[in-house]
């Protein structure tokens, strides 16, 4: 395994605000990473920094071992699809797909055509007149068909319906299987992509909260449900991430449980349910609750 992206102590300030705050991580080759966080958490800025579109205030970025800024050798191997991508005023989708192969050496025209049909994208309508979902479809198609060794998707499917999103997930996995590459995907629809992700980065207020294997992360928290008494006695001495209750019932989210813990909980008549990635991120970034940072 080797690192395609290496970031160390990366900081980006805009005047008073720190959009990216002393972030360090690396991304291994041919994995699908999720970059999760709330609006304004710094996801887009981070991706703009990684793709040489923005400039770091401090810190180091290496993409394929080199600085990305103004480095055409590196950038040729990078594709960055962002939700807010602007297109020339007079462009139609067909202009985008005609010109894409000039910029992406691995462009697969057959795949692009198949995706255009899948998404039912009209090729000859002015881009300005497309719906939000159709606009997103253009980005998704470019991102998949470019087959760039390092592909960034920043909120790629705003306005895409459930069917179209499923097509995106299916095609991504399918094509990823045949043509392995490194994908970094930022999204709000965490549960939808949770099975796709091999590694998860959670960013909040510019800081990296989680840099964790997705499998490990999924088991890192469990919700214990039962009578208030039973639950209370079970969670004594454990780190409690979240607690809610109605009447005599309680539901408490705790950190990682050992098999012995699980057996004991079952004996006590308590119900255990895994915490989804989405809930985990919500718990983590929704309040001042940062206990999970240590336990995860």
């Amino acid at each position: 395994m080797s690192a395609v992206v290496e970031v160390s102590h990366l900081t980006r300030r805009f005047g008073e605000t720190t959009a990216v705050d002393d972030v360090s991580f690396s991304v291994q080759k041919n994995t699908i990473h999720g970059l999760l966080g709330r609006n304004g958490a710094g996801k887009t800025t981070l991706m703009q920094l990684l793709t040489g579109q923005d400039f770091a205030t401090r810190g180091e970025i290496r993409i394929f071992g080199e600085h990305p800024v103004e480095n055409s050798g590196v950038l040729k191997n990078v594709c960055f699809i962002k939700e807010s991508q602007r297109y020339p005023d007079d462009f139609k989708p067909r202009h985008v797909f005609t010109s894409a192969p000039w910029f992406f050496p691995n462009w697969d025209a057959a795949l692009a055509e198949r995706l255009i049909a899948d998404f039912r994208l009209p090729l000859n309508r002015r881009i300005k007149k497309l719906s939000r979902g159709q606009l997103s479809a253009i980005g998704v198609i470019v991102g998949l068909a470019s087959r760039a060794p390092l592909t960034f998707f920043d909120e790629p499917y705003l306005g895409l319906d459930a069917v179209a999103r499923q097509i995106f997930y299916d095609r991504l996995l399918e094509d990823f299987g045949e043509h392995p590459r490194t994908v970094i995907l930022s999204t709000h629809l965490i549960d939808e992509v949770s099975n796709l992700l091999e590694h998860v980065l959670v960013i909040d207020e510019g800081k990296l909260l989680i840099d964790q294997d997705a499998e490990t992360l999924r088991g890192s928290a469990t919700t214990v449900v039962g009578t208030r008494q039973g639950v209370d006695s079970f969670v004594v001495g454990r780190e409690v991430l979240h607690r809610e209750g109605i009447g005599g019932l309680a539901s408490v989210t705790v950190g990682r449980l050992t098999p012995q813990d699980r057996a004991r909980a079952t004996e006590m008549g308590l119900e255990l349910s895994p915490v989804s990635l989405q809930q985990l991120v919500v718990r983590l970034t929704g309040s001042s609750q940062t206990a999970l940072e240590q336990s995860a």
Partner: protein, 263 residues
């Protein structure tokens, strides 16, 4: 900072095409929508031409004396009809940076390759359009003003009816370049500093203008200013425009080097 490891990636998967192919790709990107690059300008020109022909026809059918006709012909030599086509090029220059630049960056183009490719496109398009105008000017002169005594291409500003085709071509070419590069350079200021950049730019230009007027007035040097314009003539002024064009081309590059497209 030394936690970074040496590059160990599989180099075989990293494509390293030369810079020239990237620059050519940008040129092709600018030209991919042939309709707006080639058809629309000539359509605008055609529209202006039709209107002008109508005006010439009205003028010359309403006056009968030979002296008045000669007068009208002299006046028509100052036609500014072509100005519109140059304004359209200014808009194309602005759009190249305002829209195509964020798009090209999304296609993983470096700012350097974008600017060089854009400059090459501007030069190429200026040459093509100038050649077209030169041909039209030659036809205009040969047909004695499209058979009506009118004047739209071989005007006073571009050397008049007696200019050689090379002179005309050079003047058209310089004028096109000026509008392309100045438009693009203004747009780079917007890309880099947004509204504040625009305010500072136009504020500075206004100040410079006022300062220039004040300077000329207080030093009583208006006569020599007019003398300069007089001795250079419109053609000379257009030739001198190559200086601001070059400044725009160079500053635009350095401004864009640190610009980030915003949403």
């Amino acid at each position: 900072m030394s936690t970074l490891t040496q590059p160990t990636i599989d180099e075989a998967r990293i494509d390293r095409p030369g810079g020239a192919s990237n620059i050519l790709a940008v040129v092709r990107l600018h030209l991919v929508n042939r309709y707006s690059v080639f058809a629309v300008p000539w359509m605008i020109m055609g529209g202006i031409f039709v209107v002008n022909v109508a005006i010439w026809w009205i003028i010359f059918s309403s006056i009968s004396s030979e002296a008045d006709r000669a007068d009208a012909r002299d006046g028509l030599e100052f036609s500014g009809a072509l100005f519109y086509i140059f304004v359209y090029m200014l808009v194309l220059g602005i759009q190249a940076v305002a829209f195509t630049f964020p798009f090209a960056l999304g296609f993983s183009v470096t700012r350097r390759d974008f600017w060089l490719g854009s400059a090459l496109t501007f030069i190429g398009l200026s040459a093509v359009y100038s050649a077209g105008l030169t041909v039209l000017a030659a036809i205009e002169v040969a047909t004695d003003g499209w058979g009506l005594g009118g004047s739209m291409f071989a005007t006073f500003y571009f050397g008049g009816a007696d200019a050689s085709w090379i002179e005309r071509f050079g003047l058209y070419f310089a004028a096109y370049l000026f509008f392309y590069f100045v438009g693009a350079a203004i747009a780079t200021i917007y890309q880099r500093w947004r509204n504040n950049g625009m305010l500072v730019l136009f504020g500075t230009l206004a100040l410079l203008l006022v300062a220039g007027i004040a300077l000329a007035s207080f030093t009583s040097s208006w006569p020599s200013v007019w003398a300069w314009f007089g001795s250079n003539g419109p053609s000379g002024v257009i030739a001198w425009s190559l200086v601001p064009t070059a400044i725009a081309a160079i500053t635009g590059y350095f401004i864009l080097r640190r610009a980030t497209p915003k949403n």
